[in-house]
């Protein structure tokens, strides 16, 4: 396998185990909640590193993110895991962008990177959870997308994935360059080693603005979003119901009584 230029798109998201909230303008509160590299993107970084390892490290893995200043935390984690270099697109005008605008910025950044072979993404972010950015980027770049892979291999100029769908397990392939998205079934993501943490400090990190990409600031951000959030409302917490201890089979009897009272039986 020839050495490849692999790009991994990652997102900096509010910690999904924290108490996530919205701002008054309907955007996600990204300041008041601790952020990190989206867990689902760790799998993408892992698959990129595994592709690199299969060609004895000849390939280059570039991490690409679009996000606020603090998104460098997500980049750093990916570099610590073993990526070679990173690009951070940061511009105040981007805040509040929807998926359509985000894909525009990503696609322009990928084009500015120059030649590339494989663009790997996670299956979705853990905040917006739309799962559409990978195909939107492919659409804009005019390249094929093979998505939701639980196994990825590159064979010459072909990328092949296994996709475990609802009705079938499929093998899907496309010719490079191509966009690939991977699921959390693709293999556990590695933890950064101490060596990796130290090495990451010296790895190249470029910061690009919208002007660097030649993207018109009018096309991105909250005011240019093609969707509008009208209202956000916290779901009232579920009130805990009755919990009984099972003693000599009493649990099953009580459970069946409950289900019958709710007309499920």
């Amino acid at each position: 396998m020839d050495a490849m230029d692999i790009v991994v798109c990652v997102k900096y998201v509010p910690d999904s185990t924290a108490d996530r909230r919205f701002e008054a303008d309907g955007t996600v509160d990204r300041a008041g909640v601790d952020g990190l590299l989206s867990e689902l993107d760790e799998y993408a970084v892992e698959q990129a590193l595994q592709l690199k390892e299969k060609d004895a490290g000849a390939s280059t893995v570039t991490v690409l993110t679009v996000g606020p200043e603090r998104a460098t935390d997500a980049i750093r984690k990916a570099l610590q895991m073993g990526a070679d270099k990173a690009v951070h697109v940061v511009d105040e005008a981007i805040a509040g962008s929807d998926a359509v605008a985000t894909s525009l910025v990503l696609a322009n950044a990928v084009e500015k990177l120059g030649a590339w072979d494989v663009l790997i993404c996670g299956m979705a972010s853990t905040d917006g959870s739309m799962g559409v950015v990978p195909v939107m980027v492919a659409e804009r770049l005019g390249v094929p997308a093979v998505t939701l892979g639980s196994e990825v291999e590159v064979d010459g100029s072909t990328v092949r994935i296994r996709r475990d769908g609802d009705v079938a397990t499929e093998t899907v392939e496309a010719t490079l360059p191509a966009v690939v998205s991977v699921t959390d079934q693709s293999g556990e993501a590695r933890y950064p080693s101490f060596k990796g943490i130290m090495a990451a400090k010296k790895k190249p990190l470029e910061t690009w603005s919208l002007a660097d990409l030649g993207v018109d600031a009018e096309l991105v951000g909250l005011s240019a979003a093609w969707t509008e959030v009208q209202q956000t409302e916290a779901r009232p917490p579920r009130t805990a119901g009755q919990v009984v201890a099972d003693e000599d089979g009493s649990g099953a009897a009580a459970l069946v009584e409950f289900l019958a009272s709710k007309k499920f039986i």
Binding site: V100, M130, T171
Partner: protein, 325 residues
């Protein structure tokens, strides 16, 4: 009244038997305009009379895209075909079933047509000016969000169980729609496919009752499955159970698996981590059986049993069977 395009879901196309999610979309489409179904394939090619079903649930028109360039490939040609149909009909909205394929078609369609996209709607209603206002459940079910598309054609993917299908006879006029598919759209293809064995149980995301098992099963799903069968339920699994190789990923309920919102959700041996809650928190009634009385799942339940899931579910299955006589 404007047309509202409804993409018939691919499970319906497999055998021509129109599934519930498509009927739900037709029902929602009627709130926004005149439903037009989009059928990829040949609706007269199956014994199930799909066109009659679509008409019975309100389809005024049925656009037939019968072209192997579309049906033999992945999502890109379907998005191209829909974009051509959007250009021709200027619909009030495009409704697409939410799922891996549906969301990808929608994403590509949004970019192609310069339209806003909303995914995973759990409700769609006409706003004051008649345009679609969607409801989504976000942040692991912790928030509901009302939103609308402000540019182009509203493209909305809708989750199963978001409406009750209602019959309302439509004309169901068949109209062949010829499409032109680019070579680029055919660049990704399925080269092998191994069908999953049918379980005979309801589809997980559509089921009225779901019984799931987690780490606490220890890999033995027999009691979970038996309880599901006596209730006529679908079987689900937590990520821990899937990661352990006990159940295929298609059964996973949670953030990276299926989101379910059944009338009744039974969690057996599932602790209730945020990853799992994201997939089941909006269920109407939640019941859990778990050995650990401190398991977070008990914060969500309407009814919980602290005990061994194997013995509790086995005994409960027997009792339900007795009641049924």
């Amino acid at each position: 009244m404007s047309e509202v395009l409804v993409l018939v879901d691919s499970n319906s196309l497999a055998d021509g038997k129109i599934t519930k999610p498509t009927l739900e979309l037709l029902t929602i489409a009627r709130r926004l305009g005149e439903p037009s179904a989009v059928y990829i394939g040949d609706p007269s090619g199956s014994g199930e009379a799909p066109a009659e079903t679509l008409a019975a649930y309100g389809a005024q028109k049925i656009y037939v895209i019968d072209d192997t360039d579309v049906s033999d490939y992945l999502v890109a040609p379907k998005a191209e075909a829909l974009a051509q149909l959007v250009e021709k009909t200027s619909p009030a909205a495009v409704l697409i079933p939410s799922g891996g394929e549906g969301k990808e078609i929608a994403g590509r369609l949004a970019v192609k047509t310069g339209s806003g996209l909303i995914t995973d709607a759990v409700d769609v209603q006409p706003g004051p000016d008649g345009t679609a206002v969607t409801t989504q459940s976000v942040f692991a079910g912790g928030y509901t969000v009302q939103a609308r598309v402000t540019r182009g054609t509203p493209i909305i993917t809708v989750k199963p169980n978001s409406a009750t299908p209602e019959q309302a006879p439509g004309a169901g006029t068949l109209e062949d729609f010829p499409v032109t598919i680019s070579e680029a759209a055919k660049a990704a293809k399925v080269t092998a496919s191994e069908p999953r064995k049918a379980t005979g149980r309801p589809e997980l995301t559509e089921a009225a009752i779901v019984v799931s098992g987690g780490r606490g099963t220890g890999g033995d799903f027999s009691e979970v499955e038996a309880f599901a069968d006596v209730l006529g339920a679908a079987v689900g699994a937590s990520r821990a159970a899937v990661d352990s190789g006990w159940m295929p990923h298609a059964f996973q309920v949670g953030q990276t698996g299926k989101t379910v919102s059944p009338q009744l959700y039974v969690a057996g041996g599932i602790s209730g981590a945020i990853q799992h809650r994201a997939g089941m928190q909006t269920s109407k009634t939640i019941v859990a059986v778990n050995k650990d009385e401190d398991a977070p799942i008990f914060e969500l339940v309407d009814f919980g049993v602290v005990g061994d899931l194997h013995s509790v579910l086995r005994a409960a299955t027997e009792k339900v069977t007795e009641r049924k006589g």
